[in-house]
């Protein structure tokens, strides 16, 4: 539904040029909720703004529903934009219009008749739970209600795609949850394709099917959400995950970690396992089978979109032979093993 082919965006020119996006390829299938996560300044907003050409890519193609938007003239582009609803971090509602009239705006722009506007706006207010707010002005609403109005407004032109630029970043956790639920609901009921950008793992975890990780203008990693939360492929991915899970080895241990194994060291590992493995009394079996002692430093079980995910930081105590055998055994059970470092045996 959304396809980016080699999209680059450079602001300015010469030595001060900012390469905000570098050769991005992205394919979001119809009906998917696709997240893009990244640190501040990574290029997230630039990326999503390139999809509806609020920002014109310096090179590359943006193809939505088979139409190459980068090739369209301004009139055709305006028509295409009716297919692309967008919501923003700061809602961007018109203060001079009531809730009803805000939602009606895209229809007015399209030249829809008054009667039809009423017929189309009312179900949207119903869907977003705003029926009793129809005659109020944005200044009278809470942040969550404002974002609901923005969502209703974005849906008014019956788009195929919804673009969300940090849609929940200005909201508290409870309100965030209710807005995410609404987005998921819309995705299911209307089959709407959603591309959302965020810096919050919570958002990705709650509703995304797939996630891309953007760093310094490059899409460095892309995965199904379950896989991303079990085994991020990049260092940045792991940092995001660890920060989100608050699963870091204790500081005292980190200070003692050495990168290379010595003669008298134990490996410290981060284990991630999903599905059936979680229930298996894995650790005790490991101790029995390979003869290593497993000292658990931290452990956590998370549920990510119906999949159970176990995470653990542990020290494997044994001889170099037995510990390496234990690692092989873990991997054979489809457990993602990351060796964080090595600690001196008798420290």
């Amino acid at each position: 539904m959304i396809k980016l082919e080699g999209v680059s965006k450079t602001y300015g020119a010469g030595p001060t040029a900012v390469h905000a996006l570098k050769n991005i390829d992205l394919d979001v299938p119809q009906g998917a909720i696709h997240g893009v996560i990244g640190l501040s300044g990574a290029g997230k907003s630039t990326l999503i703004r390139c999809v509806n050409l609020l920002e014109r890519p310096t090179s590359g193609h943006v193809i939505v529903d088979g139409q190459d938007l980068t090739q369209q003239d301004s009139e055709a582009l305006r028509q295409s934009r009716h297919q692309l609803g967008m919501i923003f971090q700061h809602f961007n509602l018109l203060a001079s219009r009531t809730v009803f009239d805000n939602v009606a705006l895209p229809l007015e722009l399209m030249g829809v008749s008054k009667g039809e506007i009423r017929e189309r706006v009312e179900p949207l207010l119903d869907l977003t739970g705003l029926t009793d707010k129809a005659t109020q002005y944005p200044a009278q609403l809470s942040g969550g209600q404002k974002q609901r109005v923005a969502i209703a407004r974005a849906l008014a032109s019956r788009p195929k795609v919804l673009l969300c630029d940090e849609a929940t970043s200005a909201l508290d956790p409870q309100t965030t949850a209710s807005i995410l639920e609404l987005l998921q609901d819309i995705n299911r009921k209307l089959g709407l394709t959603i591309l959302l950008i965020t810096h919050e793992m919570e958002v990705v975890k709650s509703i995304c099917h797939r996630v891309g990780l953007i760093s310094d203008g490059e899409l460095v990693e892309e995965a199904d959400v379950g896989d991303f939360f079990t085994a991020p492929a990049t260092r940045l991915g792991r940092e995001f995950l660890n920060a989100f899970l608050e699963l870091e080895p204790p500081q005292a241990l980190v200070e003692r970690l050495e990168e290379t194994p010595g003669e008298h060291t134990h490996p410290v590992v981060r284990l991630a396992f999903s599905g059936a493995n979680v229930a298996t009394p894995l650790i005790s079996r490991l101790a029995r089978d390979s003869g290593v002692d497993v000292s658990i430093l931290q452990a956590k079980v998370e549920s990510i979109q119906g999949r159970t995910l176990g995470l653990m930081i542990a020290e494997l105590i044994g001889t170099p032979e037995t510990t390496s055998q234990a690692l092989t055994q873990l991997e054979s059970h489809d457990i993602n093993v990351e060796v964080l470092g090595h600690v001196q045996r008798d420290a």
Partner: protein, 217 residues
């Protein structure tokens, strides 16, 4: 005070209101679009025309920097061409309009400046044309600010019209000079000033009320 005097005061008051109303209305009709133009043609704006914008900005600034009393005298030939005379209330309206247009334009531009850029962006994302953005987003969102600017303009026009009156333009300024100053009738002077004060207060509170009605903040 004689009834003839009262009649004179009433007539002068109506003359002032006439000058202010007509020059205010005409300068709004021309100044508002000009202010919009100054805003939408800025670099990066919806109808960016950086060169034309600069030229327009300079012309506007020149208009604003000429002292009213000099403008009034300087354009006498033009005033004569338009209204056929260089004295009287109609003749005073011409320089009033010319002075107020750049004033209104800058105030409107300032009001538009207060609109969060995200609103324009949201409208663009909805597929709005530049004209739709002006009529459906910019003007309604800046309505309070524009009314506020027009209130300031009208209040300024009240005092400018008194100045115009002093050089034969009619109205309260004319009356104040002719009777209050030249014939030294302090009561007339006092009454003239009092009426001007009431007028300014009235316009200001009317403007404030309209702004409150327009703003839903």
């Amino acid at each position: 005070m004689s009834s003839a005097m009262l009649e004179l005061i009433l007539e002068a008051t109506l003359d002032t209101l006439y000058m202010v109303a007509l020059s205010g209305a005409v300068s709004a009709v021309i100044g508002i679009p000009l202010g919009v133009l100054l805003y939408v043609t800025r670099p990066g704006q919806i109808l960016a025309q950086p060169v034309a914008q600069r030229v327009l900005g300079i012309v506007t600034n020149i208009g604003r920097s000429i002292p009213f009393i000099i403008l009034m005298v300087a354009i006498i030939p033009f005033t004569r061409l338009v209204v056929g005379s260089s004295i009287g209330t109609n003749a005073a309206i011409v320089p009033l309009i010319i002075a107020a247009i750049p004033f209104v334009a800058r105030l409107v531009e300032g009001a538009l400046n207060e609109i969060p850029p995200g609103l324009i962006e949201a409208a663009q994302a909805m597929g709005a044309t530049p004209v739709q953005i002006i009529t459906k987003v910019l003007l309604p969102e800046a309505k309070g600010g524009i009314i506020n600017g027009l209130t300031i303009t009208v209040v300024t026009l009240v005092s400018y019209s008194a100045m115009a009156g002093a050089v034969g333009g009619g109205g309260l300024g004319d009356l104040g000079i002719r009777y209050g100053y030249n014939r030294f009738e302090p009561l007339i002077m006092l009454i003239t000033v009092a009426i001007l004060v009431v007028m300014v207060q009235g316009f200001q509170s009317l403007g404030d009320r309209l702004v409150r009605k327009a703003d839903h903040k």
